[in-house]
Every structure is written in structure tokens, then in C-alpha cells.
Subunit: 191 residues, 2 copies
């Protein structure tokens, strides 16, 4: 296997590198440990800005990114903002959409299934009374999120249905949204 | 109260509009029901693109946005991508950061507390063995997310600590991440 010179790529995913990563992690599980990060700064009202750049993974700080990804977050006027960017719950849908798609495409590649197109539409129901603290019976976040996929692939429908199931089964953001994640929040200690 | 002509703004938040919204929702709870949306299209490999524009709220389809917000999502090279954008779990941190900040700033405004600065740093631990399906004992998403706030405000430290607690108590994305959200995923039915 170490003689591989030409890399096999399916769906734009380097499958040899994918299986190579799995092999390395089998021997060294710590290689699988990543730390992802974000920094946020309030601008005004509902407008704030998140910056994403460095992360830790495969045993070291990753320095491959030369510049940060910068995201404007705001609320639309009806939610007292000025619409400088999508709002945070829309970013949550963005995270979920991208992660389900990537999970589907990567796991299809690992199975040798060529994908032609993947599209998805997401919709989440949110009742503002939660955020406003107006009712104990209303949660703050989404009550429910619906995702509809449209997948074209070189595979029978049953196989595509299995891929959509696999995407849910393996997607990190699907897990983050569907299951509880412990979040600790603290104020910085000043000296 | 209906005689208000000049709007009171704190932290860039129109507090009169905020309390006016609360009053309207008390009478008509359906005004609080929103539906947020996102569409995603796969590009290649780990690269896909999410578009956010329309939403439903306050009893109607909102048409105030003239153009969509477009987000490139990708993975860094070490995760087999080409780094065209932040990755989905980084978007999840972006959502959480923005939502905690907005919740803090809006609820401070409602309490008449003027905020000068809000900064936050987020870090989440993720073990790739979950995504790769290599261990039943490893979850796919974040094991843990740590948020550190730095808040400067015209208030004593105890009051700022209460605001940070209130941000967690009211933030929609904090709820989405900390607690389970039902997500239904289906394949589009073709005729």
C-alpha cells in the first residue's frame, strides 16, 4: 500500500489520503484530536463579527491558513438589526447544511460512489418568546429543523437513501444540533 | 406609552421597539413564530456553498433582504479540502459566538445597561474518530465547547456576570447546541 503513487480521487476527495488518515489514527488515536476556534467582537446593536483562522489538529497547531475567514452577523430590521449579515440561527443552519453535505460526499467517496449533485434546503421553527423570556413552555432555539436533500449520483435510489442516513449518522454538526454539547461560559479574569 | 415619539436606543438596540414587540406578542403569540432557512449546494470535495435570504416572521414572509448572504464552506488540506471557507464545525462556533453576544447586548439594553465592548473566544474539542466511524465511544461532534467573554460595561462586575449568565439563559444557539433539537432529514420525492 505504501507504493501508491497516483492518488485515487472520488467526488474531489482524495480517497487514498482518507484511508491513510484512518490507518494513522488506528495506531495513534491522538492524531484524531482537533480543537477548532472562533473569536467574536461586538460592533453595535445586533451586529457582531466572528473571525476563524487557527486550529489544532493531527498533533500540532495548523498554520496553513494565511488569512482569517471573517463573518458579519446581524439581525434583520424586524429583529432590531441592520442586516449586515445573516443572523446567528441562520449560521447554525449553514453549519448543519454544510456538514451533512460534506459527510455525505466524503462517505460516498470512501464507498466508491460517484456523486453528481447534492442540494439541500433547511428550515427551522423558532418562537421568539423563548429569547424574550416570555414563556417557560417555549424553548429559545429551534423547536424543529427540516432538511430536504436532492442527490444525483451514479447509484440506485436505495443506495442514495443509505448515503443520506449515513450523512446523519456521521455528521459532527448533526450530532451537535441533535444531541447535547456541554458548553462552559466564563468571564475573563483580569489582573 | 403610545405617545413615544423619540426612540430610546441603548447599545444600538431600539429599546422602545423591543418592548413594543413584547407587547404585541403578549396579545398575538403567533407574531413570535419565525421560520429561518438556508439552501446548500455541493461544489466539489469538502467545498459547498450555503445561501441565506428569505425567512418567515411576524405573520408574513419577510422581503426586506434584497440579496442573499452566501457562505463558502470547505475543509483545510489536512481534512482533505482546499480551504475555500471555514468548515461546518467552525460555522457552528460562529453561530454560538454571535448569538451569545447578541443575547447579552439585547438583554443588557432591555435592562438599561450600556455596554462598551464585548469580545469572546471559543474553542471546541472534536475527535475525528467519530466522523470516521472508528469508535462507538467517540461522538461525532464537539465533546466540549469553552467560551471566554471579555465585557466592558458601565456596570459592576457582579452585574456583568449576571449578563453573561442571562446570555446563556436566553440565547437560541446556546440552546440549540446545549440541548437536543429534533432534525428530520429526507430525500426529495421526484415525480
Amino acid at each position: 500500500m505504501s507504493e501508491h503513487k497516483t492518488h485515487k480521487t472520488i467526488n474531489g476527495v482524495d480517497v487514498d489520503q482518507l484511508f491513510g488518515t484512518v490507518d494513522v489514527i488506528k495506531d495513534k488515536p491522538d492524531v484524531a484530536k482537533f480543537k477548532f476556534r472562533a473569536q467574536n467582537r461586538w460592533v453595535n446593536g445586533g451586529h457582531n463579527r466572528t473571525t476563524v483562522k487557527d486550529f489544532y489538529g493531527a498533533g500540532k497547531e495548523d498554520t496553513s491558513r494565511t488569512k482569517p475567514f471573517v463573518f458579519e452577523e446581524d439581525e434583520p430590521p424586524i429583529l432590531l438589526g441592520e442586516d449586515h449579515g445573516a443572523n446567528p440561527v441562520e449560521y447554525a443552519l449553514t453549519a448543519l447544511a454544510g456538514c451533512l453535505t460534506t459527510s455525505l460526499v466524503y462517505h460516498a467517496a470512501a464507498r466508491g460512489i460517484k456523486i453528481d449533485e447534492v442540494e439541500s434546503k433547511l428550515e427551522g421553527d423558532l418562537d421568539l418568546r423563548g429569547f424574550l423570556g416570555m414563556s417557560e413552555n417555549v424553548r429559545n432555539g429551534y423547536d424543529n429543523i427540516r432538511v430536504t436533500f436532492n442527490v444525483k449520483a451514479d447509484a440506485p435510489k436505495e443506495e442514495i437513501e443509505k448515503l443520506v442516513e449515513l450523512a446523519q449518522k456521521r455528521s459532527p454538526v448533526f450530532d451537535i444540533v441533535s444531541n447535547p454539547v456541554p458548553v462552559s461560559v466564563k468571564l475573563e479574569e483580569k489582573n
